[in-house]
């Protein structure tokens, strides 16, 4: 009996048919069983009908990436098997509905085990038992497909029950029963198929089971949202756009925290409302994706000029233009670094995994307020929409840093309004570049803001000497930030210090490459991974040092032009000789990362283009 510790499962179907909830149920079940899960979601820019799928990987140890082969493909309609059957490995399995799928017509390895399930029959039986119309029960198809998979993997019904309870809470608790009943029937069907218990990819039982409720099953969008909540974000503006809208709607639901989520008339209103609110003193952010990010260019420049601490989360998706609106890309790096006309400081952070999404969501406000400058978070769609089991976030080490905010001066006498009127040098020229800030409403600290060049008091000026002082002052903040931001928030080298090859990357590739390091090691290659997180101010010196000392360097990015490689070249002059790029909108898999490294090592390829995945 084959048991393994790492498996790859997929479920698919037309959009709107419940693929997402099936995947969530499956992931929850596996998590309840103590496994670690990583799931990636692929869907079209369509509401109903187009093919979508969820690809889940389950391991006995933490997992951060998907692999391309499928061990078990679970389907409940005709299209998924047609599209994905050829990806099932030898000895893998297919769960299908024999009334719509004819295995003999599929392009598929001959050794794939077949598990036909007559969905209609199960539903009909169930309907009879419960005395409900069968049409009302159609939705349990999803549960059946999941339960059948669990049976095959050797996961018990108790786990399914627990997972269903976690999923259907409060008003929805009534749904547990019927779904469980359907699940039971699916178990029976599977267990009636000959050889079901010798499935080659049956999972090894989890021996090192984490404490129940000690982990989170979460995606990057929610992780970032939670980070923002923890930071005290009280105003988030947005205009609906995939995939940024997920974070916004999630935050809107958190009514307990008093956060106002404002659906503005467009992204221009969003950024400028955010600027207005951030200036006023609320911790404020706005979230968007490429097309909306374009529209924020002018507002971001204004925040830079006026030293207003607005946080902007840009969820990157396939560009250019409307592009591949529901697909992955790391295509906005150069744009984010240069958005807005003229020179002004900005902080740009790119998160690499759930923990970074949470921490960066939190830190962004500290950076923005401490350095009084717009702070852009880059999160790619693969991270935003992927689900992962992770330990609960560490929170103890977190501190709020509001930077220099001053209250009323001592000279203020509430009895004498005139003492509340004096002007305040909000833009004082200081060595750090950071000036004390007062919030509107504070007596004795009246000042002006203007996108025009201005004096210390915020008064418009065109005087060359003030211009120079102010440009220099604003720029110094970035140098201060570069000095102060802890190095491990800037970049990190994963794997051995010395390696045959150093892989450079950013964003969602982090988990994939880290997982690939293990696989490479197993294949006899020592590789390490330089993960870059702080894009502005860019840690040029340290990065240069690491790259200069590396034996061989390569970069992996999910964009066409290898934008990070360009940034590194611009900042350090160093040319990374081997570029791996993926721009199909599908995230890189662990397998792809491994073979790209091997190709660079063995063939010395200068350019490797990846294209796995539908």
């Amino acid at each position: 009996m084959g048991v393994i510790t790492d498996t790859s499962w997929m479920i698919g179907g037309p959009q709107g048919s419940g693929v997402d909830s099936s995947a969530t149920l499956f992931a929850r079940s596996m998590a309840v069983a103590g496994y670690w899960v990583y799931g990636k979601r692929e869907y079209h820019s369509n509401i109903k009908g187009a093919h979508s799928y969820f690809h889940l990987r389950v391991k006995t140890t933490p997992v951060r990436s998907h692999i391309d082969p499928i061990h078990l493909l679970s389907t409940f309609e005709d299209s998924t098997a047609e599209i994905h059957a050829h990806e099932i490995v030898a000895g893998g399995a297919l769960i299908y509905d024999p009334s719509v799928t004819k295995p003999e017509t599929l392009e598929m390895d001959a050794s794939v085990k077949l598990f036909p399930i007559e969905f209609e029959t199960i539903i009909r039986d169930l309907a009879e038992e419960l005395g409900k119309p069968a049409a009302k029960l159609a939705i349990v198809k999803n549960t059946i497909a999941v339960a059948a998979s669990l049976a095959l993997y050797g996961v018990g019904l108790d786990v399914l029950e627990e997972a269903l309870k976690g999923l259907f809470r409060g008003k929805k608790a009534g749904l547990v029963g019927v779904n469980l009943a359907a699940g039971k029937k699916a178990y029976q069907v599977i267990q009636s198929v000959e050889g079901w218990d010798t499935f080659a990819y049956r999972l090894a039982p989890q021996t090192n089971k984490p404490e129940p409720n000690s982990r989170l099953l979460m995606n990057g969008a929610a992780a970032c949202g939670i980070g923002k909540l923890k930071a005290g974000c009280r105003f988030q503006t947005y205009y609906s756009i995939t995939p940024a809208v997920d974070e916004c709607i999630w935050l809107e639901q958190q009514t307990e925290y008093g956060i106002v989520v404002y659906q503005a008339e467009d992204e221009i209103a969003s950024i400028n409302m955010a600027n207005g609110a951030a200036y006023t003193g609320a911790r404020t952010s706005t979230a968007t994706s490429g097309p909306g990010f374009c529209l924020k260019a002018e507002g971001i420049g204004w925040a830079g000029m006026n030293e207003v601490p607005t946080v902007i989360t840009n969820y990157q998706r396939g560009g250019p233009s409307t592009g591949l609106p529901t697909r992955n890309e790391q295509g906005d790096l150069l744009f984010a670094l240069n958005i807005g006309h003229g020179d002004f400081p900005r902080i740009v952070v790119a998160s690499g995994d759930m923990e970074e999404c949470f921490e960066d969501g939190f830190n962004a406000f500290n950076f923005a307020e401490r350095y009084q400058t717009p702070t852009i978070l880059l999160i790619d769609k693969a991270l935003a929409n992927s689900t992962q089991t992770i330990p609960k976030f560490a929170e103890k080490h977190l501190r709020i840093d509001r930077g220099q905010i001053v209250g009323a001066p001592e000279s203020f006498n509430p009895e004498d309004p005139a003492t509340g009127l004096p002007k305040f040098n909000r833009f004082k020229v200081t060595e750090s570049g950071i000036s004390p800030r007062s919030l509107p409403g504070t007596p004795g600290r009246i000042h002006f803001l203007t996108g025009d060049e201005h004096t210390e008091y915020g008064v418009i000026t065109e005087k060359p000497e003030i211009r120079i002082a102010m440009m220099d002052k604003r720029d110094r903040k970035l140098h201060t930030a570069a000095r102060e931001i802890p190095q491990d928030l800037q970049f990190k080298l994963y794997g051995p210090e010395q390696a045959d090859i150093t892989i450079v990357g950013w964003g969602s590739s982090k988990g994939i490459i880290i997982d690939a390091l293990d696989e490479l090691k197993a294949q006899g290659v020592t590789a390490n991974y330089l993960h870059i997180r702080l894009m502005s101010p860019f840690p040029a010196e340290k990065v240069a040092e690491i790259l200069t000392n590396a034996k061989k360097t390569m970069i992996i990015e999910s964009n066409f032009s290898n934008q990070l490689a360009k940034v590194i070249k611009m900042e350090t002059g160093i040319t990374i000789p081997h570029h791996v790029a993926k721009y199909t909108g599908r995230p890189i898999s662990q397998c792809e990362a491994v073979s790209a490294v091997q190709e660079v090592l063995t063939k010395n390829s200068r350019k490797v283009m990846l294209s796995c995945g539908h």
Partner: protein
């Protein structure tokens, strides 16, 4: 939802208008109508006894946009066309401040047209003053959206071939809850109108006819002080709605039929074709503000405001308990 009383932050001792002048020298053209508007704002803030440091004055970009630099209060010179988003964002997070917004007709009705429309839908409690001079002053006199079709002020290369908008009618249609017109050189009326707008709880529009002696030779100061012949008699160009039997105030905002009828009447008044110019309040209705409605859907905001809810202790340790947020994700 019952409507609430306006509560403005006021001082026991009012500040004088001159104390509200900033140090920045004003650089408008001699004779520009803008002077009158900034004066009126200073006088309104003074006369209402507002706490100056709780006054947050947002302006757009244009000659008019410079106003925020001339009032000794928290002043924000925003971006061209974006003054409303700034003002709205600021007011929503801190309703304790008095938020004034101002800008040009190009700024507000032109590039800012979308925000202008949508601000009406929200009814956030701010006052918006538009400097209506029919031109883009600071960029040297191109047509603004209030310039009538066929007109050609001296700064235009060709006659204007787009129709003008009627800002009052549009504002009423868009949902503004206070809509008035005034004139920059009618100091008293303008001051009083701005005061009434500030006192109104909800979004107020004050469209101010403002001569631009440099570029708009069609409607100089003299035009406004001219007499016009109406029904055979000489009448002043400018007159007051208050002196007519028109009354734009909705008496009972819960009577939907009556509100609707009044709205049509107000729009009709705004479209009235006449040589003369009627100043005054065209439309006023008391309705729940956006802030009120927010509190009704987000109980955590009741009795507090976004900026007031604490999120850290004295040692800057975050105090937000994430348990509630975590719940759906725990496994």
């Amino acid at each position: 939802m019952a409507t609430k009383q306006q509560q403005l932050p006021t001082l026991a001792t009012k500040v004088k208008p001159f104390q509200l002048k900033s140090e920045k020298p004003i650089d408008w053209c001699p004779g520009c109508g803008d002077f009158g508007i900034v004066n009126a704002v200073q006088q309104a803030v003074s006369e209402l006894g507002l706490v100056p440091w709780k006054v947050n004055f947002f302006t757009g970009i244009g000659c008019s946009g410079k106003s925020s630099q001339y009032l000794q209060a928290y002043g924000v010179h925003t971006l061209h066309g974006r003054v409303l988003p700034y003002a709205l964002g600021s007011k929503i997070v801190n309703p304790d401040n008095v938020v004034l917004a101002a800008g040009g007709d190009g700024d507000g009705y032109g590039i800012g047209g979308g925000h202008f429309l949508h601000a009406g839908r929200r009814n956030v409690d701010i006052t918006y003053i538009v400097f209506n001079n029919e031109v883009y002053g600071l960029t040297k006199g191109q047509a603004s959206p209030t310039l009538e079709v066929g007109m050609q002020p001296k700064s235009l290369a060709l006659p204007h071939i787009s129709q003008s908008i009627n800002p009052l009618a549009l504002a009423i249609a868009a949902g503004y809850t206070f809509v008035a017109r005034s004139y920059s050189f009618d100091a008293k009326h303008l001051k009083q109108t701005i005061m009434a707008a500030i006192e109104h709880r909800g979004i107020s529009l004050v469209d101010v006819h403002q001569p631009c002696p440099t570029y708009n030779d069609l409607h100089p100061k003299e035009y406004y002080s001219e007499k016009v012949i109406e029904n055979g008699t000489e009448m002043p160009r400018v007159y007051y709605l208050d002196d007519t039997d028109y009354n734009g105030v909705v008496a009972d905002s819960t009577d939907a039929e009556a509100v609707n009828a009044k709205k049509i009447e107000a729009i009709e008044r705004a479209y009235k074709r006449e040589e003369r110019i009627a100043l005054g309040v065209y439309w006023k209705i008391d309705m729940p503000t956006y802030e009120d409605r927010l509190q009704s859907v987000i109980p955590a905001l009741q009795g507090t405001s976004p900026i007031t809810i604490p999120f850290h202790d004295e040692d800057m340790i975050p105090t937000t308990d994430l348990s509630y947020a975590y719940e759906e994700f725990l496994v």
